[in-house]
Amino acid sequence: MLTFCDGRGRLDRRDFLKIGSLGLGGLSLPQILRAEQQSGQSRPHKAVIMIFLSGGPPHQDMFDLKMNAPAEYRGEFQPISTCLPGVQICEHMPRLSQMMDKLVTIRTLVGSEGRHAGFQCLTGRASRGTAPAGGWPSLGSVVSKLQGPAAAGTPPFISLTPNMKSRGWSDPGSPGYTGRAHAPFTPNADGGSNLTLDRISLARLTSRRSLMHDLDGLRRDAETSGAVAGMDAYYQQAFEILTSSRLANALNLDLEDDRVRDRYGRGDNVPAGYGDAGPLMNEYFLAARRLVEAGARVVTLSYGRWDWHGRPHGTNFENARDHLPRFDQGLTALIEDLEQRGMLDDVSVVVWGEFGRTPKINKNGGRDHWPRVGCALLAGGGIRTGQVIGSTTELGEDPAERPVHFQEIFATLYHNLGIDVHSTTLTDLSGRPQFLVDHDRYGPLSEVI
């Protein structure tokens, strides 16, 4: 825990240096301010919201139903028509069925390393194999490094993922060779301890009344001690950021209209499924929109537990009947909300998990891991939506046409952010330039840009 007051509740210069180096999304506050001064900040910024369906969603029960397959493959669900002619999806996603014109559905996601973790969805890279010095950075860290903060008081990279028993799923995103300065700000992990001042927890930070009371006290202490007068301009501004309410307000959903919160579906903050994964918290979707509105460039979150091996933890289909309606409500609310606020063309939404699930239903009513093919959704970001990319074989075992690699999705997201993956490099910790994706093999999806 960071401390801003001495034992008597007073501030000194050293405390302010701590404030100045407090990681907000990894960046120190002076860095944020300098970057902001250099770049200007008033124009609308591009952003990405990444929804990680931890555990691996069943592609064949959501967006690629195989109604002509034998019963042991087909599953329990019926398809429903969508607003796209000839395209059907699962009956438990009726809202999404009417929003398919705003989505790109990818039925042929390939390249999964088959590991239960968010790493590949966060970085585009396999965790095994050769990595550059410092390790692969996640998308948010790359964007933080390349573009810096978009607005004062809001870190560029925020992960809403809470701590979970399964560490692979609670990974907020490694900064890799971009360095810790570009690690995500993680308000839901560790009880928000990376933004805990001596008397001000994140919980209190989200309560404007208590926040202002605490910060007023902090400011009085600072002024009394003369600490502020001795700081350079950046540190004074850094203090202003901490005392600004931009981030706290973005995280304070009580400030949102109840009708909007209801439209998102609110959700539940208890771990889903076996108790080791993320909650089915639809308000994370809403918080993501608010954070982007407040200046975040990349917001990631884990949603639910999609690792449905079957009984005794419920069959694949019982879990799907539990998750899909909530997911349907939350995702459609997010897209609708972004559109109504005029943000959809600037904000890319990506939804995916680490792999697909076995075409054949196992003896316990579950589907197991299937790295050979999975699914992903894209929305917003100015891409051409209303299309389905790829098709799978009769039983959904492999791509039949147009396999789409994880890195093609990354290249598309970078494209939407205004970053050219064919020319942009970052230097790893050994001093070697690194492209953001394997650009000689993968580029943005030509179908959508």
Binding site: E76, D268, V270, A272, G273, Y274, G275, R311, P312, H313, G314, E318, R321, D322, P325, K363, N364
Partner: protein
């Protein structure tokens, strides 16, 4: 359509429910690893019992109304002081998930069926295994003691339905007919009829003495996951995958169906001893408490 008296909620799917013998309290067990105790008349939560390390799949009360026994996916049975909310004992032995559980009416014996393909019969007074029943070749999905407690029926993911002698642990015979896994089983209150529900979508009535099939009830959508006779034995209730509650007379003629009372699979039906209340526990995270007069007046 009748309305439930109370809708009770767990943070996660609910697998099991059991009324205290005096009818004042309902215990419910969930995939959230807890047991909740509810006041039946008010629907208020009274206690949450924590200690299991995985979902709770079975519950039974002792006749004293003060203790209950639970079975969990964490491979253990536990005995609880329901007044204080404290754990009194933990019984271990299974090598894999426990999926199903049953107890005799006097709670002298309990049985647990596991993904280790074994059934264990427990003496709850001595807190020890008294029989280990082997023969199933896949996970056990359903168990039921006969009303006298001398026989145990088991339903398995190996598509078999078996009957066992409780005192000797010997298999007495099998009931052949289901095409696919057998999901659930119960005895009629007189012990003469055994009822089973299978993945083949049928509910079957069997002569428990001769092992002969008496009647096959069709009309389920998906499969039945829970079966229960109302006290007195005049009505048989079935529920399962489609969230619908169906009511049959003792001969298997359908009396009523209450469509989609839950949004997901109904895992258990439990009656209060006086037959006044029915609890339905579902994967949709709720338990609904019904007044039988409302249901049977329809």
């Amino acid at each position: 359509m009748p309305r439930p008296l109370h809708v009770l909620r767990h943070p996660n799917s609910v697998y099991t429910a059991a009324f205290a013998p005096n009818g004042q309290h309902l215990a419910t067990g969930s995939l959230d690893s807890t047991i909740k105790l509810w006041d039946v008349s008010s629907g208020k939560e009274r206690l949450t019992l924590t200690g299991h390390r995985d979902g709770v799949c079975g519950l039974a009360w002792f006749p004293d109304n003060e203790r209950l026994v639970s079975a969990s996916l964490d491979k253990t049975l536990r005995i609880w002081d329901a007044k204080e909310g404290s754990q009194l004992a933990s019984l271990a032995g299974h090598q894999h998930y426990i999926e199903t559980f049953a107890a005799t009416a006097d709670a002298a014996l309990a049985a647990s069926g596991s993904h280790d393909k074994q059934i264990r019969i427990w003496n709850l007074a001595t807190e020890s295994t008294v029989q280990t029943l082997t023969g199933h070749t896949a996970a056990i999905f359903g168990l039921a003691f006969s009303p006298q407690g001398d026989r145990l029926a088991s339903a398995g993911n190996d598509d078999s339905l078996r009957l066992w002698d409780v005192s000797t642990g010997q298999q007495l015979g099998t009931f052949a007919g289901h095409e696919g896994a057998v999901q659930c089983v119960t005895f009629s209150p007189d012990g003469a009829t055994l009822v089973s529900g299978g993945s083949d979508g049928t509910v079957r009535l069997w002569n428990a003495a001769s092992f002969a099939e008496k009647k096959k009830l069709s009309g389920q959508r998906g499969y039945a996951k829970s079966l229960a006779y109302a006290p007195g034995g005049k009505q048989l209730f079935t529920a399962g995958l489609d969230g619908t509650l169906r009511v049959y007379d003792a001969q298997g003629e359908r009396l009523a169906a209450f469509e989609a009372i839950h949004e997901n699979t109904i895992y258990q039906l439990a009656f209060s001893a006086d037959g006044r209340y029915l609890a339905t526990a579902s994967f949709d995270r709720t338990i609904k408490l019904w007044d039988m007069r409302d249901l049977m007046n329809i």
